[in-house]
């Protein structure tokens, strides 16, 4: 498998990654009555709020400790204490997730110490205070996401370990859409399992219209459930890239501390990886795959047979978080397409190897570029003569320039509505992706052929 050499440019030109505090904020938004608080300048929380809002199209509250020049020099302890008091008085959160920023990390703030001091002063309602270190000069939003999950689990599952049900399973879903989270919950329930999904922003970031005002949106993983994770039968971590660094993963922690068996599998995108998910749940639950999913799988295969002639050997450029790229690449290879370029701003060092392992049949036909940016992808693009681009909104310029379709998946999608409802996971998600991919290619064909493809 060819691997594209790292960009020889020093500057990052049109980045293909976001910063770590964003990932942490997303996790805290997925905890019941959770409030993210960024320890740094107010601009960080404003920018990140705005970015999450434009993707999810939902209210997103993120507090800040509003550093001033003075706090940048003398430290932000006073600011953090006041921020905790104010945000508690206004929103009465059950949990405040404090993520650091490049500013507070650069000056070396002792946030755990500060939290201890504040907690002694007892905040109204006694919210749980969790601290995660997310300097934006280290890793990307994907790392911030993983780190926040582990911190929350370490902090909460360490205290209470009584599962509410003997058939409880912990699920760490990876960065995915609210629709994906809802689907995971459905699958777990259909296996007769009780799932604790962390984070679960399926409602907090994709809720219905409100009949009355709510300080914090309903939904999210209940804190008590997180507390009971140590008593679950199993944990399932989705994302092979994430799991390739076991020391960073909550599931490994639960396994070591509470002997909760840990299954690390891929994002369930496409047939093979969804099969793996279903097998895992079969094993954990002792139940066989519910009939419903046999049908869904059958319909997916049937659709793939219907459409295979329109897409085989079609070439796609895929980009986004490394786990998403890996999942999409595996899926594309299953349906006969070639993910000619797999690109990510992430840099775990494991993407090449995992693509090799998962897609041996396309050896030599896939190039992998990690730690790259959109300018880099754009420069490489033409060489592959791709038929389509698959990824978030930021690749639209490449698609425009090459006059090929962009199938939007992942995060951020801010130039279309419905990002929160895109289903990537499960047989159902694969079917939706499949239809969108085939139809995007058919539209091009129809538009370009004078004779028309009006009857297939």
């Amino acid at each position: 498998m060819a691997s594209v050499s790292q960009s020889h440019f020093v500057a990052t030109r049109n980045a293909c990654k976001l910063c770590a505090p964003l990932g942490a904020a997303l996790v805290f938004k997925g905890i019941e009555r959770g409030m993210p608080l960024l320890h740094g300048s107010q601009g960080c929380s404003t920018y990140i709020r705005r970015y999450l809002i434009s993707h999810f199209r939902e209210p997103v509250d993120i507090a800040s400790s509003n550093f001033s020049e003075e706090s940048a020099v003398f430290g932000g302890a006073k600011n953090l204490a006041m921020a905790l008091r104010n945000v508690t008085a206004q929103y009465r959160p059950a949990l405040i997730g404090i993520a650091t920023t490049c500013l507070s990390e650069t000056i070396g703030e002792d946030v755990p110490g500060m939290i201890r001091q504040v907690a002694e002063g007892a905040l109204e309602g006694n919210p749980v205070l969790v601290h995660v270190s997310t300097p934006s000069y280290s890793g990307s939003h994907a790392e911030g996401f993983t780190a926040a999950i582990k911190t929350v689990v370490e902090r909460l599952a360490g205290e209470r370990s009584f599962a509410s049900s003997a058939r409880q399973v912990n699920i760490f879903p990876g960065i995915c859409s609210p629709a994906d989270l809802r689907h995971l919950k459905e699958i777990v329930a259909d296996f007769g399992l009780t799932g604790v999904i962390l984070p679960d922003y399926s409602e907090t970031l994709d809720g219905p219209a409100w009949s009355d005002y709510k300080e914090l949106p309903p939904g999210g993983t209940p804190i008590a459930d997180i507390g009971s994770m140590g008593g679950s039968m199993s944990s399932v971590t989705l994302g092979r890239i994430v799991a390739s660094e076991p020391e960073k993963v909550a599931g490994e922690f639960l396994s070591a501390r509470f002997h909760v068996s840990h299954h690390a599998i891929g994002l369930p995108i496409g047939i093979k990886e969804t099969d793996e998910l279903m097998r895992t749940f079969e094993r954990v639950s002792g139940s066989v795959l519910p009939e419903k999913y046999r049908h869904e799988r059958g319909r997916l295969i049937d659709a793939m047979v219907d459409g295979h002639k329109y897409i085989f050997e079609k070439k796609a450029i895929v980009y986004g978080e490394e786990d998403l790229v890996l999942g999409m690449a595996v899926f594309l290879s299953e349906i006969g397409m070639i993910p000619v370029l797999c690109a990510s701003g992430g840099k775990s060092g494991n993407l090449h190897r995992l693509i090799d392992e998962m897609i041996p049949e396309l050896k030599g036909k896939i190039e992998v570029a990690d730690g790259t940016d959109f300018a880099g992808i754009d420069e490489m693009a033409e060489r592959f003569q791709p038929d389509m681009v698959i990824g978030n909104s930021k690749g639209s310029r490449i698609a425009d320039r090459l006059k090929i379709p962009l199938v939007r998946v992942g995060f951020p999608i801010h130039d279309r509505i419905g990002a929160q409802r895109i289903l990537h996971y499960g047989y159902r998600g694969a079917l939706e992706l499949y239809d969108r991919i085939v139809n995007a290619l058919l539209e091009v064909k129809q538009a370009r052929a004078g004779l028309g493809y009006s009857y297939l």
Binding site: F9, V10, A11, T12, R13, N14, A15, K17, L18, P21, L22, G40, S41, Q42, G43, S45, T46, Y47, R50, Y51, I53, S54, R57, E58, P59, V60, S64, S65, N66, F67, S68, E69, A72, N79, L80, M82, A83, L84, R85, N86, V87, A89, Q90, Y91, T101, C102, L103, T106, I107, P135, S136, Y137, S138, G207, W210, S211, D212, Y213, E215, G345
Partner: protein, 544 residues
């Protein structure tokens, strides 16, 4: 309702909002609330441009956002490099909706690019100057820009990277005009500090460098117009029709060359007072170009502004042409209003946005016969609320002191007063005002609420209490307001509508607002079962 009752009502809402805060927070916060009573002998004072308290979810951005995003963002041929970790560059990458129109296919347009030094751990520890130099060098090699702006983010100031020294060195090395901005996010109170930092550097490094500008009889530079939704295009067209030459716009649809030659105009007009009034002052002091405030949001306001420009140039031909354009445009405006006004008259609006927009857009609502219940700015200063009279009395706090004030003197060879003393006196006699801005509060009704830096929490209370028909703000407020079944008009990005400036823009706005108010969507918000006391709602209330 009588004004007295309204004032009482607003007072009680104000108290309720403050009641939820810890005492110390409430004490500080209350100074930023005023129940408006215009015309009082002792003018009301509002606290503004003070730091948001930690933990209050403000809508404000940071200094970097104001500098890189707002002021330099809309300029197409100055290449911007963010020096810092990746987030800041990414979040300011094409996220403001300012547009640009290069004159030809070969003209530079760097706006789609987001260059960042993407600082990593080792750069924070060992310093990032070397990386920055290389980044500048390769950027100049690829793009051959005339000018490069380098923007510092939070950690830069702390680790001691000197962006100014690096910029100077690289300027000499590459021949491009390269300048740095110390716009670290923790500086100043809001994005307003960033505007100031940006404008100061433009004044030091760009304005005045140009030796020629667009030819024309009536040359104007427009400050504080950022071409959101094509506003600058609409204004360019309008000025063109009137025979007025726009030499430069700061910074909608602008270029480096326009900035460099802005001082060659014979008049400076200011749209957004907040973000740039001080540049108008500096241009006047250094080059002798007078300035006044204009407003092209609203048909009447546009007409008034055009007439003032014509009056300034005092040319019969120009005046006649301006009157002709106004007559033509107002006929169209009238016919639009005849159709739309009956459908919206008496409806209510609130505006919490910007440093001028919350004021400017009141014009449009008034033209539609709508009432303003409350308004406030996100990052304005006292003069934007109370008028420039209060300038000498504004206390300079630690945050403002950190923003450089340039000392400007008349240029030895290029200072050229555009009006003689006699001409200025004659104009003054006619009631003509320069350097004028009366602020928002005098133009708002008695009993309306004026709130500075309204936050998420207060927004939700104020909506609940007043139930306005439309709320104007930005994307951060948009979905919470809409979730409650109320239309929100974004005045930062126009929700991909616009332009709203000039006469044609006003008509666009009337139509957009009428559609938003009267769409059937809002009728679906309440489900049929909401008529009966719903179980679900009771449950949620109980858990809240």
């Amino acid at each position: 309702m009588s004004p007295e009752n309204k004032i009482q009502d607003a007072q009680s809402i104000k108290e309720e909002m403050l009641g939820s805060y810890p005492t110390k927070t409430a004490r500080k916060r209350q100074k930023q609330f005023v129940v408006n009573e215009p015309g009082l002998e002792a003018k009301q004072e509002i606290q503004a441009n003070v730091r948001t308290l930690p933990g209050i979810i403000t809508q404000r951005g940071c200094s970097y956002a104001g500098c890189k995003g707002v002021v330099l963002g809309p300029t197409r041929n100055i290449l911007n490099i963010t020096h810092g970790p990746i987030g800041c560059g990414y979040y300011s990458w094409l996220t403001r909706r300012n547009q640009t129109r290069p004159e030809s296919d070969t003209d530079d347009n760097f706006m789609p690019y987001c260059l960042s030094t993407d600082m990593q751990d080792e750069n924070i520890i060992f310093g990032g100057e070397k990386k920055l130099k290389k980044a500048i060098e390769e950027a100049v090699d690829i793009f051959h820009p005339k000018a490069v702006g380098v923007f510092s983010t939070c950690p830069i100031g702390l680790i001691g990277d000197d962006v100014h020294a690096v910029s100077k060195e690289m300027s000499e090395k590459t021949g491009a005009n390269i300048f740095g901005f110390s716009c670290e996010g923790y500086k100043g109170v809001s994005q307003s500090a960033g505007h100031h930092i940006a404008n100061n550097q433009l004044f030091k490094h760009v304005i005045g460098k140009g030796k020629a500008c667009k030819a024309g009889k009536f040359k104007v530079a427009m400050l504080g117009e950022y071409n959101i939704g094509g506003d600058a295009f609409a204004l360019e067209e309008l000025f063109d029709k009137c025979g007025i030459t726009l030499v430069a716009t700061f910074s909608g649809n602008s270029t480096y060359e326009q900035f460099a030659s802005a001082h060659l105009a014979d008049l400076t007009v200011v749209m957004c007072h907040r973000s740039i009034n001080y540049v108008a002052d500096m241009i006047e002091k250094k080059y002798g170009v007078p300035w006044f405030k204009v407003n092209f949001i609203g048909a009447e306001a546009s007409a008034k502004s055009l007439r003032k420009i014509a009056e300034y140039f005092d040319n019969a031909e120009l005046k006649a042409r301006v009157e002709k354009v106004i007559a033509e445009e107002m006929a169209k405006v009238k016919s639009a209003l005849d159709e739309i006004k009956p459908k919206v008259e008496g409806k209510t609006a609130m505006l919490f946005v910007g440093g001028s927009r919350a004021h400017h857009y009141q014009e449009l609502f008034k033209e539609m016969g709508m009432k303003i219940l409350a308004a406030g700015y996100e990052f304005a200063h006292r003069d934007d609320y109370e008028g420039r009279d209060v300038l000498p009395t504004i206390k300079v706090d630690a945050d403002s002191r950190n923003i450089e004030e340039l000392h400007v003197e008349a240029h030895a060879s290029e200072y050229r007063p555009r009006k003689t003393k006699e001409e200025l006196e004659a104009l003054a006699k006619k009631g003509f005002e320069f350097r004028d801005y009366k602020g928002m509060m005098p133009e708002m009704d008695a009993g309306t609420l004026v709130i500075d830096d309204i936050n998420h929490f207060e927004t939700e209370i104020i909506i609940e209490k007043y139930k306005p028909d439309i709320f104007c703000a930005g994307i951060k407020e948009k979905y919470v307001i809409q979730k409650l079944g109320m239309p929100l008009k974004q005045l930062h990005s126009y929700d991909y509508g616009g332009p709203y400036a000039s006469f044609a823009g006003a008509i666009n706005f009337y139509r957009d607002v009428e559609r938003m108010l009267n769409t059937r969507i809002w009728k679906h918000i309440k489900a049929p079962w909401h008529k009966v006391e719903p179980l679900a709602a009771v449950f949620i209330n109980a858990t809240n």
